[in-house]
């Protein structure tokens, strides 16, 4: 239960960190919050040759709400080393991104949330984690930087499979940009997050992040349903969501969407929850989140 030997480098600047990663490539791992990497190292599942610690670098944490020209949506920009506890307590996130605010208390335990970072979570790409699914529903974009330059990757193109992302060996996830959807006379968006875990803070057996946009007449113009622990990546139930669009959503339509989502998720099953039970949870949580959104939030 102790890590294998490695070379530790406390990075002093982003430029130095990127140069080191370009030099070492896959032999090196970034150390962000360490709340998934260090247990994997303790268990010797991960044995990186080099750890590049991002914690000493100034200016890699924090969040801002960007005001854009009226034709474009506003965006919440979160730097990658922002810790969960900051997200959980942020008044800006509570105001502007209620889905993320509602999700944060479900992410592990208080001690983990004091260290874990948003960027580290997303780059780790655990499909059982809440935040990748939430980022898919929010249609976030991620900034990847390397010595070669920078590029933006859509959350929906980012997660390849278990613990595997679009990031190249020399790249670092540095920023997360979430488009905001403030109410307008013609579009109101409401969201809800729910999960079921055996114990608060443990990995959920199933979880759902839901977002519904209604126009002035109460007709659904957009719906997003994201599931965690439902496949090799976070899963968007696109057909279930699409079935709600163009409708004044009724209880029967929620029921129908939940039935479609049941077949869209691809849960792995484990000792706590069989595949059939996970699919059942997906059905129930889809109904509950959509009902909550429509009953109380518009």
């Amino acid at each position: 239960m102790k890590p294998a030997a490695f070379k530790y480098i406390a990075a002093e600047s982003l430029a130095q960190a990127l140069a080191l990663k370009a030099e070492y490539g896959d032999e090196a791992k970034w150390l962000a919050g360490g709340q998934s990497l260090v247990p994997a190292m303790n268990l010797r599942v991960a044995q990186p040759a080099v750890l590049i610690d991002l914690n000493p670098i100034e200016g890699m944490a924090g969040l801002t709400v960007k005001e854009k020209p009226t034709s474009e949506p506003h965006a919440l920009v979160i730097k990658a080393m922002t810790r969960y506890r900051t997200l959980e307590r942020s008044a800006e996130i509570a105001t502007h991104c209620p889905l993320l605010h509602e999700t944060m208390p479900h992410v592990a335990h208080p001690q983990i949330r004091n260290r874990g970072t948003l960027g580290g979570n997303l780059a780790h790409a655990d499909p059982a984690s809440e935040l990748p699914a939430v980022m898919m529903v929010l249609n976030a974009k991620f900034k990847a930087q390397s010595v070669r330059g920078e590029r933006w990757i859509a959350a929906r193109d980012f997660f390849y499979t278990l613990f595997t992302t679009a990031l190249a060996a020399d790249e670092l996830l540095t920023e997360i940009a979430i488009p905001l959807q403030p109410d307008t006379p013609t579009a109101r968006t409401r969201t809800c997050f729910m999960e079921i875990a055996r114990r608060r803070g443990d990995y959920a057996m199933m979880g759902v992040a839901a977002s519904v946009t209604l126009d002035a007449n109460g007709v659904c113009t957009d719906a997003q349903l994201g599931y965690l622990n439902a496949g090799d990546t976070p899963i968007l139930a696109t057909q279930a969501a699409q079935s709600l669009v163009g409708q004044s959503i009724s209880a029967a339509q929620i029921q129908a969407a939940a039935a479609i989502a049941r077949d869209e998720v691809q849960p792995p099953g484990n000792v706590h929850a069989t595949v059939a039970f996970q699919r059942h949870l997906a059905t129930v949580l889809t109904k509950r989140t959509l009902t909550t959104i429509l009953d109380f939030r518009f």
Partner: protein, 205 residues
């Protein structure tokens, strides 16, 4: 690129009411490259046998300087290098909470932090709680009075977690106390006396 034709899978299971990684299934398809895990192990000849760092950390108000290996966990640093064995080690992968300390005032799993990461930081362990050898911290006193422990193994981690929790939320509800305790496992008490103790501190405060 991180092995797009190879994936490593952690299967979560639970034999002891804990989250644990038990089964690793290596799925390979169309392998043109060997598994990442093996690649990394093949690189081990390049890894220094000991990667030493000299660090200075403040623990319970006292400054300590030690030269340690980068792979040393903060929990082992506190126990073995500093001899502060009040911090307990339970699972060593972040589940049980026994090793919780305050790292710059925030409750942190010391088994999920490297000792080198304590360089220049301020730590507090259970040894730093009591006002004097004869006078307990009010939180410790409340645990004593409510019988908030049996074997005591989880207690240091719970005390450090609750100290920071009460500092941030001095008048919690019972539900908030239980939520705040979610990251600490106790196999003796059923938590009721622990919750009572924390609420008693509130009543005094």
């Amino acid at each position: 690129m991180l092995c797009k034709d190879f994936s490593l899978r952690f299967e979560m299971t639970d034999v002891t009411q804990k989250r644990c990684f038990v089964l690793f299934v290596i799925k390979m398809s169309q392998t043109t490259c060997p598994p990442k895990l093996l690649q990394i192990q093949n690189l081990k000849s390049k890894i220094p046998m000991s990667d030493l760092h000299t660090i200075t950390a403040t623990v319970n108000g006292k400054s300590y300087t030690r030269t340690i290996e980068s792979r040393m966990l903060l929990s082992d640093f506190i126990r073995h290098e500093l001899g502060l064995t009040g911090t307990h080690v339970g699972c060593e992968y972040g589940v049980c909470g026994a090793c919780t300390i305050l790292y710059d005032n925030h409750p942190t799993r010391s088994c999920l932090t490297l000792a080198v990461q304590a360089n220049g930081h301020r730590l507090e362990t259970v040894e730093g709680l009591a006002v004097s050898p004869t006078q307990l911290h009010p939180l410790q006193q409340a645990f004593h009075e409510a019988h908030g422990l049996q074997c005591g193994y989880c207690t240091p981690g719970i005390l450090m977690t609750m100290k920071a929790f009460l500092a941030e939320n001095p008048h919690p509800s019972e539900a908030e106390v239980r939520e705040a305790l979610s990251g600490n496992l106790c196999r003796c008490t059923g938590y009721q006396h622990i919750v009572d103790a924390v609420l008693n501190v509130k009543d005094e405060g």
